[in-house]
């Protein structure tokens, strides 16, 4: 899933400053699961904005609305009947959702209310960790399900570096060393001989380094 954080309130208010009629748009997918941009968070942000405007005696009209999936043009179109009643759209979806809304309503000013941070998973209640960078050429078979591209701070394919200590990465104690995890797993699975194989230089052309990626499935096109 995609994980995000809400932007600081001051930054949001700065973006909204000149506007009185605001459409606040949530998304029911990842940002709902990571509790940052679903219907609940839309309601919370809306009341924060109203309160702040009330304090400063600046009028505001906010419409709260949450789409099934903001990154899908079909759902984006579902708000076309009332979009024009508002001066600005502030989206609580990930960057993909914000861009879909902006592309769908080109005459509208669309701004983000969250900082999209990573593709990850939830490890325990309230804790998400980055797990994949979408490198386009998955090597999880070689590293027994732990991604060094993403979870090693230096994307080392033949780790661990000399900074690994007590299970933590050199960058801070709260970040597990991906290579410690990989080695623990290799040992557990009796596959340490895999460790001796030198992983060759990676072809990054399938990742973002090769330029923005597009996926076309001719069989699905109408």
């Amino acid at each position: 899933m995609i994980v995000a954080n809400r932007k600081p309130f001051e930054e949001i208010m700065e973006m909204l400053k000149p506007y009185k009629k605001i459409l606040l748009l949530g998304c029911n997918e990842c940002v709902t699961v990571c509790s940052v941009g679903g219907a609940k968070e839309v309601a919370v942000l809306a009341s924060e904005i109203r309160l702040s405007r009330l304090k400063n005696i600046i009028p505001v009209e906010i419409k709260e609305h949450t789409l099934e999936r903001q990154c899908d043009p079909e759902y984006a179109l579902s708000i076309s009947s009332f979009v024009n009643d508002y001066e600005i759209i502030i989206s609580m979806a990930c960057g993909c959702g914000v861009q879909t809304i902006a592309e769908t309503y080109r005459e509208k000013y669309v701004v983000p209310a969250v900082n999209t941070t990573f593709m990850g998973s939830s490890e325990e209640h309230g804790v998400w960790r980055e797990k994949c960078q979408g490198c386009g050429n998955c090597i999880l078979d070689k590293t027994l399900g732990i991604c060094p591209v993403t979870r090693c701070a230096k994307s080392i394919l033949n780790g661990p570096c000399g900074g690994s200590q007590g299970g933590s990465c050199e960058i801070n104690k709260d970040t597990p060393c991906a290579w410690q995890l990989i080695i623990d797993r290799l040992k557990q699975m009796n596959m340490m001989e895999k460790y001796l194989e030198i992983q060759p230089v990676k072809d990054w052309s399938t990742s973002r380094d090769g330029g923005p990626r597009t996926r076309i499935r001719e069989d699905l096109r109408i």
């Binding site: 570096c161 690994s164 007590g166 080695i183 623990d184 230089v201």
Partner: protein, 306 residues
């Protein structure tokens, strides 16, 4: 095949090698590097030139290596994978070899969050083991990573580092074996303070026969003060400073701490020299370069083979 590296010559002759290092200055003035170099002149077989160590911007390792080369040193140019992609790496290797730098030390590099530009984007296109492979391929096969032919192969003695004190401990010798298999010909270890643990690591290294495939130089750092010893213990990732050493410095009268630090360093040199498979030492006297000649003389390692 032998390169033009003096360090390689000394190691191949069977002499116990001594290297040290010069950190380039944080400016465009070469005086600082010449001054540090002047202390080491005649005392070392090769001098490492660090590459933006701890991710703090400094004069490039390449340029500072050239200044030291002009002074008559055999520079060991350090290269980290943090700041360059494979295009820049191969280009810098060609440039260095073209201008007479014949030793390259391949490292991952500290993460940029430690340095003065934590907001930088890092590269890490290839890792240190792949860097070793890259240099070897360029030198021995005359080929770029792309497979294309190189006109004028770089003549480079290939080095690497390993930290016997990082975790997981039991794979630290295996990782060195991978580096040897990739083509590394010498290794300089992380600073040795815990000789007992280092000896255990060397035992594993010998069991794997790595000491017969590459030259192993033990990293040596003298303590300047109790504060420095404490800082290294608590704040430098992968550093193992036994509490006993800190206590020993702590129990020494303040004006004698520096001397005690040198004494400890000489004892460590003495101990690692007796470990089978150790081919030399690499002295990292951080901002204390002027003490290096004294250490080398006191350790009975002066004069150096010419």
């Amino acid at each position: 095949m032998t390169t033009e590296s003096n360090l390689e010559k000394v190691l191949k002759s069977g002499s116990f090698a001594v290297t040290s290092e010069c950190g380039p200055p944080r400016g465009a003035d070469t005086e600082a590097i010449r001054k540090k170099g002047a202390f080491l002149k005649g005392y070392v077989d090769g001098v490492n030139v660090t590459d933006n160590q701890t991710s703090v911007v400094r004069m490039s390792s390449f340029s500072a290596s050239l200044v030291l080369k002009e002074m008559g040193f055999d520079p060991v140019m350090q290269m980290v994978c943090r700041d360059r992609n494979r295009i820049a790496i191969q280009s810098d290797i060609l440039g260095a070899a073209a201008l007479g730098i014949h030793n390259l030390l391949c490292l991952s590099g500290d993460h940029q969050s430690f340095g003065d530009h934590p907001s930088a984007k890092n590269v890490f296109d290839i890792d240190s083991i792949q860097l070793i492979q890259t240099v070897k391929r360029m030198r021995d096969d005359g080929k770029f990573l792309s497979g294309e032919q190189i006109k004028g192969r770089p003549d480079i003695f290939i080095g690497c580092v390993e930290n016997p004190f990082a975790d997981p401990f039991d794979i630290r010798a295996l990782r060195l074996a991978k580096k040897a298999a990739a083509g590394a010909q010498f290794v300089q270890t992380q600073c040795v303070f815990n000789v007992e643990k280092f000896s255990k690591w060397m035992e594993m290294v010998r069991d794997l026969g790595i000491h017969e495939k590459m030259y192993i130089l033990a990293g040596i750092t003298p303590f300047k003060s109790v504060g420095m010893a404490r800082y290294m213990k608590t704040s430098v990732p992968g550093m193992d400073v036994p509490e006993g050493l800190i206590k020993r410095l702590n129990d020494t009268p303040k004006d004698e701490v520096a001397d005690e630090g040198i004494k400890i360093c000489l004892e460590i040199i003495e101990q690692v020299r007796t470990i089978k498979g150790i081919a030399g030492i690499h002295i990292m006297a951080i901002e204390w370069e002027h003490k290096v000649p004294e250490i080398i003389e006191a350790a009975g390692l002066y004069p150096r083979p010419s």
